[in-house]
Each structure stands twice: as structure tokens, then as C-alpha cells.
Subunit: 213 residues, 2 copies
Amino acid sequence: MPSPAPRPAEFSAKKQSSSAEQLLDATASLLSEGSDLDVSFSDIAKRSGLNSALIKYYFGNKEGLFLRLLERDAKVEMDALNQLMAMDLPATQKLRIHIPGILNAFYKSPYLNRLIHHMIEYVDSPSNKRVVELYVKPMMEAYRTIIAQGVEEGSFRPVDPAMFYYSLVGACDYLFSGANIIHLIFDEPKLNEQLKQRYSTYIADLMLMGLRP
Amino acid sequence: MPSPAPRPAEFSAKKQSSSAEQLLDATASLLSEGSDLDVSFSDIAKRSGLNSALIKYYFGNKEGLFLRLLERDAKVEMDALNQLMAMDLPATQKLRIHIPGILNAFYKSPYLNRLIHHMIEYVDSPSNKRVVELYVKPMMEAYRTIIAQGVEEGSFRPVDPAMFYYSLVGACDYLFSGANIIHLIFDEPKLNEQLKQRYSTYIADLMLMGLRP
């Protein structure tokens, strides 16, 4: 007897999931090109080659689409942060790995920080709570832990983790949110892999020396 | 003979100038409340108590209005920077004065950095060139000078002034551009004078220690 053909339900689930991913990919790619969050359903449909009605079908509305995109990115980025935090390394070494990690995340998804702030704007929405749980709380918790560890190891002063959060995320994100003046400041026509790496080393040196007791 | 009454032309010039200032004040106040640059002529008219036709009369269009606002802010902020740079002080002391200066400028005009980047978006426009001349070039020049001075005085490593520019402006601006998560990170319900001062001290310490040879 030949092996049975896939059941319609399975086939359909697979196809659905792949279409949803394509829509998320198209949204991510459009958001990465712009400096705001103005992407229309028709732009997403065009970029993905799918019908725009599917966006409503899978994600309900734009807020649902954005939230799913942040969830997908969080899966990658915050898993990496949690793994790093669990490693048996000195706090200085953890920061040396984490800082290029942030810049790589923003390089891959330049809309990430912008989208996090946008989703938090709707204070009482379920999206707000979810984004806070996905990104803000774990990052703040990681910074609290890493600074306490560094203080104990004698490599950091006891700084306020909240101050550290704002200075680090702000300095990293500005290479992306402020990318349109890069050609005026750096000897580079625009943001590229090499500039991101140089900035990453600079920020890691600045923070590690700046946190010294 | 009694002293002559003001000539109509003089009176009219004074009145015009004061209306233009009122429109700029209203624009600044509306921009400070929002997190984008979406202010309408009718909002400005309402806030200023003047007719919206005057905006077109004085500034031509929104770009002209925004440019005039940046010029007015530059007069205050960049004059202060130039005065500081001309003072006979060590580089470390100049940074200790400059960093609270940036944070005070953003506290007073939280739209400032956002507006600079927006006006630079139109690459070949006269506004672009003007904003580059008003802000970007003088700041970059000041950072180049201050770092060279600090290196000579033995208080700074020879870092790339462009890296310094991005890390400092990015870290400072994020307290304002990222103000909507302050209540989640800091023990404060929202941005206030005291938090700005604490952040200012933290950033100055971080930068001065982080730049050490």
C-alpha cells in the first residue's frame, strides 16, 4: 500500500504557517527600510506576494501583526540573552558578548526598538503588557543581575541599572534611528557591517571602562 | 511739540515679529507634547490664538516653520557650546559642563534631535544644508577639538570623535525619545527635573571614565 497523502488539515496548517511567516518577513523588510512604522496592508501584500486579506485573517489588525513580529524577534534575541546570563562567565565578559548582540539585533531588525516603544504607547492594551514581559522586564532584570555580579567581582561600580539600560540602549539604537546623518559624521557613506562592528567595540570599551569602580 | 507717535511701519514690524515668535512658541510647545512631528497648522493657530494664515505668511510652509524653530534653538544652544569651547578649561571640565547642557537643551526642547534628523532627510533641500551648518558641523567640530585637547592633557584616549558623537547624543536623546518606558525602568512615574539631573551626572561620569587612557 502506498504511503498516505498528507491529510488536508496538516497540509493546510503548514501552508497557513508559511504564509503567516511570509507576511511577517515582508513586514520586517518594509519596516527596516523606513524610519517610521508607516507600512500599509497593500505594501505588505505586494512585498509578500500574498493577498492582504490574509493579514487580517492571521493577525486581526496591524497591532496584532506588529505584536507577532516582536514575539518572533524576541524568541531569537531574548533566548540568546537568557543563555548568556546563565553562562559561567565574569560580568565583564558577559557585557563584551551582550553589546555586539544588541547591535546585531538592531542591524538585523532596525525597527526593533522603535516598534517596542510604539507598542508600549497603548498603556492598557494586551500588547503593552506582552511587550513589557517579552523585552523590557527581562532586559532590566539581566542588567540588574550583571551589574550586581560585576560589583561583587570588583569590576563595576554600583551604578543604577536603569541608568545603564537607558545609556546602553540609547547609544546602540542611535546608530540606527539616527542613521540618516552617518555620512555627515563618519567616513562612511552609510551604515554597514564594518561600521557596526567598530561602533560595537567602541561602546563595549566605553561601557566597561566607564563602569569601573 | 509732542514726541511723534510710532510710525506705522515700525509698529507693524514689531507686531509681526511678536506674532511670528508666538507661532514658534506654539509649535515648540505642541512638538514637545508629542513623540512625532505631526502638528497641524490649525493646532498651531489654536495654541497661539493667531490665524493659521499667518504661518504661511511668515514661514511659507511647514518646512520653513520648522527651520525657523531650529534656527531659534540653535542661537541659544550653539552659542552656549561655542562660548564653552572658547573657555580656558581642561577638556574634562568642558565635558562636565557640556553634558548637562545637552540634557537641558533636550529637556527644554524634547523635539530637537527628532527635528534635526527630519530636516536632514530632504538631502538636497536648503533646509538640509542649513541644519547641517547650524548643528551637525559645529557639534562634530567641538567634539573633535575637545577630544584632541583631552588626549593632549592626558585625560582621554584618542577615540574617534564620530563614535563619541553617536554614543553621547544617542544616550542623552534616549531619555526623551524613549520617555514612554521611563515608568517601567526607573522609580519615577515620568521624566522630571530630578531624573534628568541624575541621568546627567551618570552620563558625565560614564563618559569621563570611559574615555580615560
